[in-house]
């Protein structure tokens, strides 16, 4: 991340802001979509996050912390949505057999893989915001424990234990699908 670009954006340079975040929007949306599971909510969370990044950028002291800082904003936006929604949605899953069969490590056939993935996603939907977030940051975004800890502003040891707890929660939730 170019510190000079961040400094310019901090001073109100919209072009610099655009250059700063344009390449990150897709990743932000994927993170939000994975946590929330609902496209409209994810879109709103990203829009809210981008506005917050622009608004709060002058307060960012360390340009090198931009990635963790901006991801934290996205995560907070998703958590607020999960917290505020307080309702259960019914959503249809798009079943792409060919795609699922190519990505799911299983000895069963493609149809079984899709069913497995759907079961896993239903189990994931039952997790709380904290568990969803840390699983997404680690498994989807590919962040190591130190990065996860930086995003969530928690000690690395806490990140490790939370990730373990989230994984266990997902396992328990998955048991209900069997």
């Amino acid at each position: 991340m170019d510190p000079a670009l961040i400094r310019r954006a901090q001073t109100g340079d919209v072009d610099a802001f655009t250059a700063l975040v344009a390449g990150r929007v897709e990743a932000m949306q994927r993170t939000a979509m994975a946590i929330l599971g609902h496209e409209a909510d994810a879109r709103d969370a990203v829009a809210e996050s981008l506005a917050a990044i622009w608004r709060e950028l002058p307060r960012l002291r360390d340009p090198l912390a931009f990635d963790a800082w901006s991801t934290r904003i996205v995560v907070h936006a998703c958590r607020r949505r999960l917290r505020g929604v307080g309702r259960t949605r019914v959503r249809e899953l798009t079943i792409d057999v060919a795609e699922a069969g190519g990505t799911m490590p299983s000895a069963a056939g493609p149809a079984d893989d899709v069913a497995d993935r759907m079961a896993l996603e239903r189990a994931f939907e039952r997790l709380d915001a904290d568990a969803r977030t840390i699983l997404v940051l680690h498994h989807l975004d590919g962040r190591g424990l130190a990065e996860v800890a930086a995003v969530l502003r928690i000690p690395v040891g806490t990140a490790k234990s939370r990730l373990f707890a989230a994984r266990k929660a997902l396992e328990r939730s998955l048991e209900r699908e069997r």
């Binding site: 994810a42 917290r83 505020g84 307080g86 799911m104």
Partner: protein
């Protein structure tokens, strides 16, 4: 499915990736984002991690500046005159540490907190307890045990706790409603520090009672006030800590949500989200939607309605509220449930438990409801959470079962609207029963507060009518007056009542 899915890293990654891929590409319009973002923050504010990296020399200079500011402010400030709050740490007082102004509305001067000496506190207690019950104040001093000053505790006459060098005429009693103060009479023997105390209308043995809320956690410079961002950054994050926080209290419009079958006494996020923010913030948007603040302390539902001074509706349809600025007393506690909270092992959360009001405002509202209104038991039963923290006067019959052989709670004490006997016996065996309308109070309340407590031949206490001062207290259903859940607790938090005095 023939074989259940194995939960591997690859399976999780594949599921999340497929989930993320379902969204259409976001169309990024920077100008629209900038237009919607509103006013920008002016500058960053150093956080605790910065403080840790400040050089020793710089820290020394900062400390000198703080001392100068503190000395100057204390010399210039007159008693009762509002002072600006003092920030969180050395860096706050250094050059360039002016508070950010992200709000379009300028932040009005905060009502500061005067840290009273013991003598000043004694004067305040003696002169204002009757007229300002519920008023919070901060004192730096020492609590001492005084066995010879006898008052009434749950188990009978007992010694008392005094505030050293504060004069006589009152005793200090730990509260049971918003703090670690025990349910019964046991309290700190000797304790020095900066305390939060609360005026009370209660009198015991001709001595005024002042409530000991807890030890105030203060910033490194002595504060005593924190900013919201300090707590967000993790300052004072010790379970059970109390902090005086300068901030704006607001909530968003109520939203529909499922009721929690556990029926907890403290709920987060349903049906409103309540926030304490660093700068003035209005969650209600022009289009009627609600957007939570970027950085805030998330508070339990009802915090605004209970603690905001002069709560007022906002927005074209009145669904929103006007943010209210004050210094609030926050308590980091592990109670409370919400749609996404785990009631068994909830993380500690900041919960607002009081508001600091000017000490010299005799006509202003206090941080707790006044005890001037006398209630019936039925009113307390109908809506136990609407009375706030503090003293509540209730007329009713105080009664108890005889002491029973059991594990844990060994009797049941009640206040009821009509004379009631919770214990029935044929002389050989007996059983307990609950009143149709009554509030369960702490064990020993009858013995401590009933007028001429008696028992008949079978040991059954007679109901005693009187005007009692009671307090609401959050507890756990599976502990006996405990403040924290016991292992395996499945009941969640509940409301308890504590009798603290009987009025003449």
């Amino acid at each position: 499915m023939s074989e259940p899915v194995e939960l591997t890293d690859g399976a999780i990654r594949s599921m999340l990736s497929a989930r993320a891929d379902r969204a259409e590409r976001y169309r990024f319009d920077p100008l629209a984002i900038v237009a919607a973002a509103g006013p920008r923050a002016s500058r960053y504010r150093p956080d605790a991690s910065v403080i840790g990296r400040v050089s020793i020399a710089a820290t020394g200079i900062a400390a000198a500046l703080i001392v100068a500011i503190l000395v100057g402010s204390s010399l210039l400030a007159k008693p009762g005159v509002s002072q600006a709050p003092i920030g969180s740490g050395p860096a706050v007082s250094t050059a360039g540490s002016e508070r950010p102004t992200a709000s379009p509305t300028p932040t009005p001067p905060a009502v500061g907190i005067d840290v009273l000496s013991a003598a000043e506190a004694g004067e305040l207690i003696r002169s204002r307890s009757a007229s300002r019950p519920g008023l919070l104040f901060v004192v730096k001093g020492r609590l001492v045990a005084a066995e010879t000053v006898v008052t009434h505790c749950a188990s009978g006459p007992c010694g008392s706790t005094l505030l050293a060098d504060a004069g006589d005429g009152f005793v200090v009693r730990p509260v049971g409603d918003v703090g670690p103060g025990p349910w019964s009479e046991s309290g700190p023997g000797h304790l020095s520090g900066t305390f939060v105390l609360r005026l009370s209308a209660a009198v015991d043995n001709h001595l005024r009672i002042v409530d000991f809320i807890g030890v105030l956690t203060t910033p490194p410079n002595g504060g005593p006030t924190w900013f919201v961002q300090d707590l967000i950054d993790g300052a004072a994050h010790v379970d059970g800590a109390y902090a005086a926080v300068d901030g704006w209290l607001v909530r968003d419009p109520p939203h529909p949500c499922a009721s929690d079958p556990r029926n907890p006494a403290v709920v987060y996020g349903c049906p409103t989200n309540d926030y304490l923010t660093e700068d003035r913030y209005q969650p209600l948007q022009a289009d009627g939607s609600a957007v939570g603040p970027f950085a805030s302390i998330f508070l339990s539902t009802g915090s605004y309605d209970r603690w905001a001074r002069d709560p007022a509706p906002a927005g074209p349809d009145g669904r929103g509220v006007e943010p209210r600025h004050a210094i609030y007393l926050l308590w980091l506690t592990s109670d409370g449930c919400g749609p996404y909270a785990d009631c068994l092992m909830p993380p500690p959360r900041w919960r607002i438990v009081g508001r600091f009001d000017p000490l010299t405002d005799p006509n202003g509202p206090s941080g707790s409801p006044s005890a001037a209104v006398v209630h019936t038991v039925a009113e307390l039963v109908a809506d136990p959470t609407s009375f706030g923290n503090g003293d509540i006067e209730v007329d009713g019959w105080l009664v108890a079962t005889p002491p029973l052989k059991c594990i844990g709670s060994c009797e049941a004490d009640w206040i009821t609207d009509v004379a009631f006997q919770p214990w029935t016996s044929d002389g050989q065996t007996g059983s307990t029963r609950e009143p149709d309308v009554g509030i369960r109070v702490q064990d020993g309340a009858y013995a401590a507060f009933a007028d001429r407590p008696t028992g008949d031949a079978s040991g059954t206490p007679e109901p005693r009518y009187g005007r009692y001062v009671v307090r609401e207290s959050a507890g756990w259903t599976c502990t006996d007056g405990g403040r924290t859940p016991s292992p395996g607790c499945l009941g969640g938090p509940t409301v308890r009542w504590e009798v603290v005095a009987r009025l003449p």
